[in-house]
Amino acid sequence: MSPTREYLYEKGFLFSAILSGSIVFLIFAFMLIMGLPLFKGNQVVALIKNDWLPARGVYGIYPMVVATLAISFFSLALAFPLSLGCAFFSGSIAPPRIARVFRKMIQIMTGIPTVIYGFVGIFLLVPIVREFTTSTSGLCIFSASLMLGIMISPTLILFFTDSLEAVPKSFLDAADALGATRVQKLLYVMVPQAKKGILAGLILALGRALGDTMVALMIAGNAARVPESLFDAARTLTAHIALVIAADYESFEFRSIFACGLVLYAFIALMVLGVRWIGMTNKR
């Protein structure tokens, strides 16, 4: 390759990196500027703390913050053990041929659009939840968490199996030589080695759960009040943005969108930093 071409390629790659990296900051700046009027006179605190009662002129997003945290927490609580089990199975215990087929299936699942999960949820899950729980419509945190948990599982499983498979073969041979059983090898050699990958998978999956709009919008019920139980309808921050975006630009309803965006942004940032921090302290 000629030096000029080499140079051009290098600069091209650099440009892509700078562009995609700066988008993170540009989006943050955009939301900050659009939401600027909210920062005058402590409105932001009131906005995050208050209930959503447009009829009385109160436009707080507190119920949405609670709902978002609840739904992502429960979906992850559901998906994490499930995915860990699946990954252990396909990454170490299952015969290679079955593991390969299983993996292909999971890969297909990651590509299914979220609206399909929402649709399936409405027609299959919601009627069952309606009949057998205290939820009157079946549209509630429980339904949404369950569906969302299923939705984020493939991401988790793929990450977990990848990191289990990345454990050096020499380690496994050493464990075999010491006479470890398959489960012992998994728990004492592979999992400690794969911890980093497991954490990375968790971050991505939690990000997906926090940021998902369609599933929550379709099956969480969207009631804008602080949920009192798992079987109450609730509105996530993302669903709130989708519901209010058609309101007119000057209204307070519309302004609340930027508060939602900022809160979501802060959540994701805190989460990534937190998990990274755990990862670092564990290494020492």
Binding site: V126, A223, R235, D248
Partner: protein, 278 residues
């Protein structure tokens, strides 16, 4: 990559739609040929889907015409057209005599927006009084047996904050009464029908033009919500959709309002769930 492909397909599809519509509807759109200029429209949100579709068809046959459509609500529509900021103001109520006199407005009504209360067809209830409806939506009545139905909890459905249907229902059906914050929120008339059709204990409301077999309409104070009863004014949860100009309509604004009364315009109006009026 996949996203791009989908986008391209959507763009292609839309292109096809524009093209065929342009062919079929050339008749009433002839008035817009050889015209040039802009029309600014603002006001009522219920009008927006109709206005947008009309604008799309007009701009397709003549790309020299620019039509912008903004929301803002009825009050904004009346005020902005009165102050000359826009060419056509939309409102979901007849402007008051005061407003008409002050700005010299010329309002025309081109549609009626009626809202029917709907339940699941399996529910045996077929009539409710105004007070019962108010109490159900406020959450005071929370079991169907309190209005003579099964011993099952009522599941409430309402529309999003920006919905014009919600505005009419809240104003005329509930007398601006409270809607329980426990109510599930859906985003469109279609989503409301799906939700109510799926949930045997549901109650919600849709534009009368959207009524079909999947949901059962409930009579309100003894009046059935039908196209006829809304048209005759017997059914109370309804309002007129008005467009107005400052002074006699002229030029492009006149042609746009005229288009709404043409067969194609009337077709758009009924497709969007309203009842066209002559």
């Amino acid at each position: 990559m996949k996203k791009q492909l989908v986008l391209m397909m959507v763009a292609g599809l839309m292109g096809c739609m524009f093209w065929t519509q342009g062919m079929v509807l050339a008749g009433s759109l002839d008035a817009f040929k050889n015209e040039k200029g802009t029309i600014k429209v603002a006001g009522g949100t219920a009008h927006i889907p109709v206005m947008k579709e009309a604008a799309k068809q007009i701009m397709t046959v003549n790309s020299d015409i620019q039509i912008t459509i903004a929301g803002g609500g009825s009050g904004v529509g009346i005020k902005q057209v009165g102050e000359g900021l826009v060419d056509i103001g939309n409102s979901g109520r007849k402007p008051t005599d005061e407003e008409i006199a002050k700005y010299g407005l010329k309002p025309v009504q081109w549609a009626i927006d009626g809202v029917a209360i709907v339940i699941n067809p399996k529910n045996i209830i077929r009539k409710l009084t105004g007070t019962q409806v108010k109490d159900i939506f406020a959450g005071k009545i929370d079991n169907w047996k309190q209005v003579g139905g099964e011993d099952k909890a009522v599941s409430l459905y309402t529309r999003d904050e920006a919905s014009g249907t919600r505005e009419v229902f809240w104003e005329k059906g509930l007398g601006k009464g409270e809607i329980s914050s426990k109510a599930n929120v859906v985003v469109s008339n279609g989503a409301m029908k799906t939700a109510v059709a799926q949930d045997p204990y549901a109650i919600g409301y849709v534009s009368v033009g959207h009524l079909d077999q999947s949901v059962a309409p409930v009579s309100f104070d003894g009046v059935e919500p039908t196209l006829e009863s809304v048209k005759s004014g017997k059914y109370p949860i309804a309002r007129g959709l008005y467009s107005m100009t400052k002074g006699e309509p002229k030029g492009l604004a006149k042609k746009l309002i005229g288009f709404l009364f043409s067969p194609e315009g009337q077709k758009i109006i009924s497709e969007k769930g309203f009842i066209p009026v002559q």
